[in-house]
């Protein structure tokens, strides 16, 4: 092995090249994200369905089941909405898998793979577009919550902090579902594979009912997974009380998942042609 010595000029040049390539990667990501958002706006059915499902859950749990669910605190709707927000972004992440497998099926992904663009942009552009969609849907759900009697007793700041955790979590798991989407060249199959996972995580968590209402073996799983951590952190912020610990745990989950899932997705993408 020979040692490679670089002159100051070479160091500067490689630094410039690195800055340029980061800038191009960001610009490519923005271009792909823009394309995905345009696609989303032009197939509004997908957006409507992404919103209808959580709305129905609000109606179901607020009015149909809510009376039978006993929660600590004054009213069920304030307990429910943090769960709805978590559920909304968890199901939103299914869209990442569906979108990528759709791109795989139509062949646009093959074209992207043969362009001199930054490789990260396909995944980055997809997850950023899905983040934007999540922001929109979560905003709509907040409005629906308020219409259903949600009052966010600890004020707007606490609510915004909780929603920040929510979309951050959504972004992290989008990367996990990205790997899934890249492995299945059929959007229906991707959806079929992704939805049960989301159901499992959302319904074993304390999203809709207190964990104490579940049998011990289920609690053992339900209280040790990221959706539960997210819902607890949101409730701590929205309903008040010592929130620091729960928020840290949720942030740790989201950060850890983002790191692991992003590495996994990038590796899946890089290995696609092998």
């Amino acid at each position: 092995m020979s040692t490679i010595a670089m002159s100051p000029r070479q160091v500067a040049a490689s630094r410039t090249a690195a800055v340029t390539s980061v800038a191009s990667a960001l610009s490519d990501t923005a271009d792909v994200a823009w394309r995905n958002l345009l696609t989303l706006l032009r197939t509004p059915q997908a957006l409507v369905f992404a919103t209808i499902q959580p709305v129905i859950f609000v109606l179901l749990f607020r009015y149909a089941f809510g009376g039978a669910i006993h929660v600590p605190g004054p009213n069920y709707v304030d307990f429910l909405m943090p769960g709805i927000f978590a559920q909304t972004v968890a199901f939103g992440a299914v869209g990442t898998a569906v979108g990528l497998s759709g791109d795989l099926r139509t062949g646009i992904l093959i074209r992207f793979r043969t362009l001199p663009m930054a490789r990260i942009a396909v995944l980055g552009g997809r997850t950023v577009a899905d983040l934007a969609r999540n922001l929109l849907v979560v905003a709509v759900m907040t409005g629906v919550g308020f219409a259903a009697g949600f009052r966010s007793p600890h004020g707007a700041g606490a609510l915004l902090a909780a929603l920040g955790l929510v979309v951050g979590f959504g972004y992290a798991i989008s990367w996990g579902f990205a790997s899934l989407g890249l492995r299945v060249s059929d959007p229906e199959a991707a959806q079929a594979a992704a939805v049960p996972l989301v159901f499992l995580l959302v319904f074993t968590s304390a999203a809709f009912v207190p964990a104490t209402a579940m049998p011990g073996w289920l609690q053992a799983f339900g209280t040790r997974q990221p959706v539960d951590a997210l819902v607890n952190a949101e409730r701590a912020l929205i309903l008040g009380g010592p929130a620091g610990h729960d928020v840290l745990i949720s942030l740790a989950w989201s950060g850890g998942l983002l790191a692991v899932f992003a590495l996994l997705a990038v590796r899946t993408y890089a290995r696609m042609g092998r």
Binding site: R35, T39, T106, I110, R111, T114, P116
Partner: protein
């Protein structure tokens, strides 16, 4: 003729998908500025070859270069000099034609302004101006394919890969795509196109490589291949058995080798459809005129049959 250096070269490419050996030691070379037709039936490995050369697939063994750059180790540089269009490389149905081209132009790193300029130029030269601002999902198959080819040209690639450019197109759209390919070849672009149709390879390619089961089965210019396999077949229908018999006798005495099946007489020609005049002249005065005449090109099946038969005979 092979004095020009090869711009695309593949040596001993092998690729398996599970149990299926898609490529089994394929080698080919495309001289600079020429059009190579990769001819073969479905499943013969055409798309796999193009995918490897266009860097979207890695070979299990063998190596390939485009413009002297290795398609695996220097994939990023290869992508700057190639364009890919066809069967499996698509455009976005939910964007307009113009949006598609601008997006792909920007991602091809030609710069934002140049992407706009090139998009407009290409929409114009591919006859898509009127549809430029309509969503691609409303395009006809032919328009979509033309946009697809345009999308491969935004960064003025040195080498263009076209995977079955006219499969599924109506004749008019097919000829439009052919014209574009000819224009590109004239402007110096090296083109590698895959096709299932001998006719298409004949119309566009300088050199044809016939592949079968992931290997090169034969190679030559279209003229050479046609001389080897390419007989045009005239199907003459005489409407009745006796008329057909008379025609068969007349043709045989004129030096043809007619084959009769009921009221139909078939004559094969090595020189092409121009021979029909001679065939009809041989009938003149000696047999009645045929009720109908059909001319068929030799199909790829004929070529493969000849190839395998030739192999047995040799």
């Amino acid at each position: 003729m092979m004095s020009k250096p090869a711009v695309v070269e593949a040596r001993g490419l092998r690729k398996a998908f599970g149990e299926v050996q898609a490529l089994d030691g394929l080698s080919l070379a495309v001289p600079a500025g020429s059009v190579l037709g990769l001819l073969g039936p479905n499943g013969s490995g055409k798309t796999t070859t193009v995918s490897i050369l266009a860097t979207s697939l890695r070979p299990d063994a063998g190596d390939a270069t485009v413009g002297g750059l290795d398609v695996v180790r220097q994939a990023a540089q290869v992508r700057r000099v190639i364009g890919l269009a066809g069967q499996f490389a698509a455009v976005d149905p939910n964007l307009t034609g113009r949006e598609n081209l601008r997006l792909i132009g920007r991602l091809s790193r030609v710069g934002r302004r140049q992407a706009r300029v090139r998009a407009d130029e290409l929409l114009d030269s591919f006859g898509l101006n009127a549809a430029a601002d309509r969503l691609v999902r409303g395009y006809s198959g032919g328009m979509r394919r033309r946009l697809d080819v345009a999308a491969a040209l935004l960064h003025r690639p040195q080498v263009l890969f076209l995977d079955e450019p006219s499969t599924g197109l109506d004749p008019e759209s097919r000829f439009a795509v052919w014209d574009s390919v000819r224009d590109l070849a004239r402007s110096g672009t090296t083109v590698l196109l895959t096709t299932q149709y001998l006719e298409e390879a004949d119309a566009l390619a300088d050199q044809v490589v016939i592949i079968s089961a992931g290997r090169v089965a034969d190679t030559g210019t279209p003229a050479e291949l046609k001389a080897r396999f390419g007989t045009v077949v005239f199907h003459l229908d005489f409407g009745g058995y006796e008329a057909a018999q008379a025609a068969q006798a007349a043709l045989a005495s004129a030096g043809y080798q007619p084959q009769r099946d009921g009221a139909d007489v078939q004559v094969r020609s090595a020189t092409g459809s121009g021979e029909l005049t001679g065939v009809l002249r041989a009938l003149d005065g000696r047999a009645s005129d045929p009720v109908s005449v059909a001319v068929s090109e030799p199909t790829l099946d004929d070529v493969f049959l000849s190839l395998t038969r030739g192999g047995e005979a040799a």
